[in-house]
Amino acid sequence: MSTPSLVIAVPSKGRLKEKAAALFEAAGYTLRVRGHERGYRGQLDGLPDVAVEYTSAAEIVHQLRAGRVHLGITGEDLVRETVHDVDGRIDFLAPLGFGHADVVVAVPECWLDVSRMADLEDVAEQFARSHGRGLRVATKYTNLTRRFFAQKGVTGYRIVESVGATEATPAMGTSELIVDITSTGTTLKANHLKVLEDGLILRSQAQLLAAKGVGWDARANELKATILGALSA
């Protein structure tokens, strides 16, 4: 195949992959993997000069940021967490109506005295007096957490990075509270955690995104309009 006019990165596994495929299918541009079933390249029926790259949801953010692909589909939470200068790098073209997840601040349910972000600074003061250190916040969203806590004036904490089973860390004693995603709240509830009243950091869902730092010629723009029109219809 000759050089594609436009490259779009889509998630290579899980719910995001299925939902993206269903969306393209419904729009009349069926996504096809080229070569064997586990390949990492694909194409869209009816748009032969579009190349599809299957890659991880996190990697799609890096590809967009670096301008190595034109379009991408991934979660807003990953974009906002990873790209510091997001406005200069990436355009949010359209929310896609799936992959809903809220990034929230959650504390143990037994903290009856705590319901808002403003309580955390007082708790940090008390905790430092009795335990000799600040509160630990377990999360994989270190940048979102830092920005949100700074905006709320909470400083007496320290982030411990957590890549899996974050919601179990307070009970295990490796953190005091967490910042994590939740869609139904079931996992939080099962771990006896509650979301703070003003603890919603981001209401995230899958987005169609465009890289700013990539060559956009007339054909690429035309294809972008076609795909945007088809997916947001």
Binding site: W111, L112, D113, E121, A124, A171, H192
Partner: protein, 392 residues
């Protein structure tokens, strides 16, 4: 100029050799603590703001490490390694790199890798004398490097604590104000609430619990909380204890039912934090504020005055110095005297040297008893640049 060229490197090395030699002659032993520090111990003391600017990483064994963002904590740890019982007096000096991420990108005035040369004095019981000794050494050091025109700025954290102690406040408010002092935006929001006589209204659940807790003791409060949790099927999980949760609910109960604090308290704190003047004049202003409010902070003011006497006796021109009550609110481990040396043309966020007293840090790092400690560090790249500017 992060020693990234050979010439800059040699100039910095030459300056550092002279500084360390001067510290050595003053009785400070040269030490070279580790550049890689355990992140946990180190960063628990320093707060998330500096952590956000520290290079933190996990090594192949999964240990969380950092490139030291300053040398005071590493030198304090070294002191404790040598003197686990923390009883001895010791004076150390150092010269070496420290690292901080610069959000706006590294620059000459804000490099991400910079060299600190400095001194730390542990265990000296005459605190005012040790404060002055360290400050004079920093002054002599920048002078000997060729900087003759500079400005001295001081503050004293202990004076603020003395003011808070002298004010007629419930203990929970005292603790709160001490803690918030290090977080100026939240502190001002809190003072504002005080000044307007606003109550901090808790949510429905807390209000309902407070009704049950009014007039209760700590033990009774724990029973109420425990009963409630059991009824709701909520386990007590995590590091924060039932005792702590009940204690804070009692504080919230007290805030809900107590009279709001008099506006005068907020006004006195506001007046105090606005003082910034030549040191003798600043002391006079603070005396007036204290007298006006009927507060006795004579002891803490006496310490400031004695420090001024010692500095003047050593030939420091106080008329050219500034004492600011707001000064030193950035690094939470400071506990008393704080100072910095500023060169002409460089802003207050770009001091060539700075330091202060940190009497609580060593216990936080594991010392079995309190260790009075005071130190100062020279930002050697800035000093070299300031000397270069002054001579060109």
């Amino acid at each position: 100029m992060t020693a990234e060229s050979a010439k800059a490197f040699e100039a910095l090395e030459g300056q550092a050799r002279d500084l360390v030699a001067l510290f050595g002659r003053a009785g400070y032993e040269f030490v070279a603590p580790a550049i890689l520090q355990p992140a946990g111990v180190f960063l628990d003391q320093i707060g998330e703001q500096v952590r956000a600017r520290s290079y933190v990483f996990s090594d192949l064994a999964g240990e969380e490490l950092c490139l030291r963002p300053d040398l005071t904590v590493p030198v304090s740890r070294l002191y404790l390694e040598r003197h686990p019982r923390a009883g001895e007096e010791a004076r150390y000096c150092y010269n070496g790199p420290a690292f901080r991420f610069q959000p706006l990108g590294p620059s000459t005035m804000h490099p991400r890798e910079f060299r600190q040369a400095g001194v730390e004095c542990f265990g000296a019981s005459d605190k005012a004398a040790a404060d002055v000794e360290v400050l004079l050494l920093a002054v002599e050091a920048v002078r000997s490097a060729g900087l003759s025109d500079f400005r001295l700025c001081f503050g004293d954290i202990a004076l603020f604590y003395a003011l808070i102690d002298a004010l007629n406040l419930p203990e929970r408010w005292r603790l709160k104000l001490r803690h918030y002092f290090w977080r100026p935006p939240s502190f001002h929001a809190l003072l504002d609430k005080l000044a307007k006589g606003e109550r901090i209204a808790p949510n429905g659940l807390v209000t309902a619990l407070c009704e049950q807790l009014a007039g209760k003791s700590q033990a009774e409060a724990e029973d109420v909380v425990s009963t409630y949790l059991q009824a709701e099927g909520i386990p007590v999980a995590g590091n924060r204890t039932l005792r702590e949760i009940a204690a804070r609910l009692l504080d919230q109960t007290a805030d809900l039912y107590a009279n709001t604090l008099p506006k005068e308290v907020a006004t006195v704190i506001d007046y105090y934090l606005a003082v910034s003047a030549q040191p003798r004049e600043a002391v006079e202003q603070i005396v007036m504020i204290a007298r006006g409010a009927g507060l006795d902070i004579g002891d803490a003011l006496g310490v400031v005055a004695r420090r001024c006497d010692l500095l003047e006796a050593a030939g420091v021109d106080l008329a050219a110095a500034t004492f600011s009550t707001e000064f030193g609110r950035k690094l939470e481990y400071y506990s008393g005297f704080v100072f910095q040396i500023e060169a002409p043309g460089m802003g207050e966020t770009e001091p060539v040297a700075g330091g202060g007293r940190y009497d609580n840090l060593l216990t936080a790092l594991g010392a079995p008893c309190a260790v009075p400690a005071v130190g100062s560090a020279i930002h050697t790249e800035r000093l070299l640049a300031a000397v270069g500017r002054a001579s060109s």
